[in-house]
């Protein structure tokens, strides 16, 4: 091997260049990763449980969530569609959540009914303490998996999408 010195220098340049690129990548990643968020609201104290009648869905603007009552239970579901993040409105006529982006439909409990969403609407833990509903918005739980329907909540009327299209 009569070119050992040249080979060594060449390898040195390659390793050095590689390290430089890795360092540039790492510093860029550290610099550009999201800043620590200021906190997503914490625990929201809401109305007494009686304010949420069966089949209703009440929008809570501070938490971008709905408090609903379905099957006798209270639920706190995120307004954000688990599919691609669109804001899902509640359709009063059908009693279901209908996503405007790709047509995913969820029942009042936030369970997946139809459409391309990979699961039910994401949920926040909800408690009733001293006669008031408390929703912890710092913990977002994944919605119910597809096909695991606990509540039998059929549509109660025409869907809003059909009404608008018509």
């Amino acid at each position: 091997m009569d070119q050992t010195r040249r080979d060594l220098l060449e390898a040195g340049w390659n390793v050095g260049g590689g390290m430089l690129l890795a360092a540039a990548g790492w510093t860029s990643y550290v610099a550009l990763k999201p800043l620590a968020s200021a906190g997503g609201g914490g625990v929201l104290p809401l109305l007494p449980p009686d304010a949420y009648p069966e089949g209703s869905a009440t929008f809570v603007r501070q938490g971008r969530l709905f408090v609903t009552r379905a099957g006798g239970e209270l639920h706190a579901v995120s307004q954000k569609c688990p599919h691609l993040g669109c804001a899902v409105p509640f359709c009063e006529s059908s009693g279901q959540f209908e996503c405007p982006c790709h047509g995913s439909v969820f029942n009042t409990a936030g369970e997946h009914v139809s459409g391309p969403s990979p699961r039910g609407m994401d949920r926040y833990p909800l408690q009733v303490v001293d006669g008031r509903v408390l929703v912890n918005t710092t913990v977002l739980e994944e919605g119910f998996p597809l096909g695991s329907k606990k509540f039998d909540l059929p549509s109660r009327g025409p869907s809003c999408a059909t009404e608008k299209a018509g």
């Binding site: 307004q79 691609l84 993040g85 669109c86 209908e98 405007p100 982006c101 999408a161 059909t162 299209a165």
Partner: protein
Amino acid sequence: MLQETAVYRSIVRTPSMDSPSGRALHAFGNVFMHIYPVRVPRGLLRFRSTWRLGFISSVLFGILFITGLYLMFFYTPSVSIAYGDMQQLRAQVGFGQLIRNVHRWGAHLMVLAVILHLVRVFVDGGYKAPRQFNWVIGVGLMVITLAYSFTGYLLPWDQLAYWAVTVGSGLVKYAPGIGEAMRDFLLGGETIGQAALLRFYVIHVAVLTLAFAMLMAVHLWRVRKDGLVVGDPPLAHDVTARAADRLVASPDSAATDAVWLADGRRVLGVIDTAEVPAHAREPADEVFSWPALIIRHQVVALAVCALVLALGIAFEAPLREIANPNLTPEPSKAPWYFVGLQELLAHFDPLVAGVLAPGALVAALVALPYVDRNPSRSPRDRKVALLLFWAVFIGLVVLTIIGAFFRGPGWGFVLPWEHLYFEP
């Protein structure tokens, strides 16, 4: 005469372009003229030889660059100010709305021109040797063009912008393993807010522009070096490979960069690869780039400018209500070039429709020149390649038409003649 003054002669040092030697010297000695070869095949003068689509794309890039610079003077990438800037542009800035319209319609036309350019180059077999890598660079330029559109779409900070980008960036998180990190990197957080607007702005005006300019320089350079498909014989010939046949290794190749011909002559640099000596060759059917081709290019450039200006005068770029994270408009559609993807998303898992399918399409385009080794550019020899290409292309067009014209609220099926929900 201005052209005879000492100052002019110090700037433009080559002789007048009235003579063939002057034209040749201009092409060698002037950085701008150097983009063109001295002479081009006569066939290139026909509009239909290339449909001028690559040139039209670069003209549109120029228009977008200039109108974009103008818009930057009146735009602040802040969620509390950006929408107001859009209204101010419309109400107070002289020609502000017109410039914005031209920027918007120019961007749509550029996406269209780049896609059609890709189709034209595919059909002509322009990706075959020795142009394989330039095709890959072209695919890169197309991806950057789409990224330009996507990042620019958010900047007006209206409902259309906010929700189209929400859906688009929602796809990123489905990329296996790195999805969430990529989304965080792009948006600067989990949702679209101030960090996302600023990042999109910087990417749109600086990062992509730098990348596009560099790739375009290489793309044009390679077109110039590899020659034009139009002048080539229908069967591809690999100049480099043929030249290599005539070479033998130098006795001490490590010591010198010179190459050796089979007859023992040592050659530095240019090798004449022709089989017949220059004086015995038939004169090629070529014309000088100036004026024959350049005049044609100037006419096309003017026509493109006139078209975007007419579109800008006739149609106003949309501006909806200010972005509202609590209310998704019905229906919420992506711009036309992504609406086929949105249609696919309504039927398949987001990993498949949003990540794997577009990823596979780009990967297939990049791999194409290396997979398709058939050297012929004649359509008769390329039935399979053409059939596959048109099948995918028509599939995408059909998906786009369904998504753009046949979808309404809740992504339900709507006949366009009953109600048209189309987002330009």
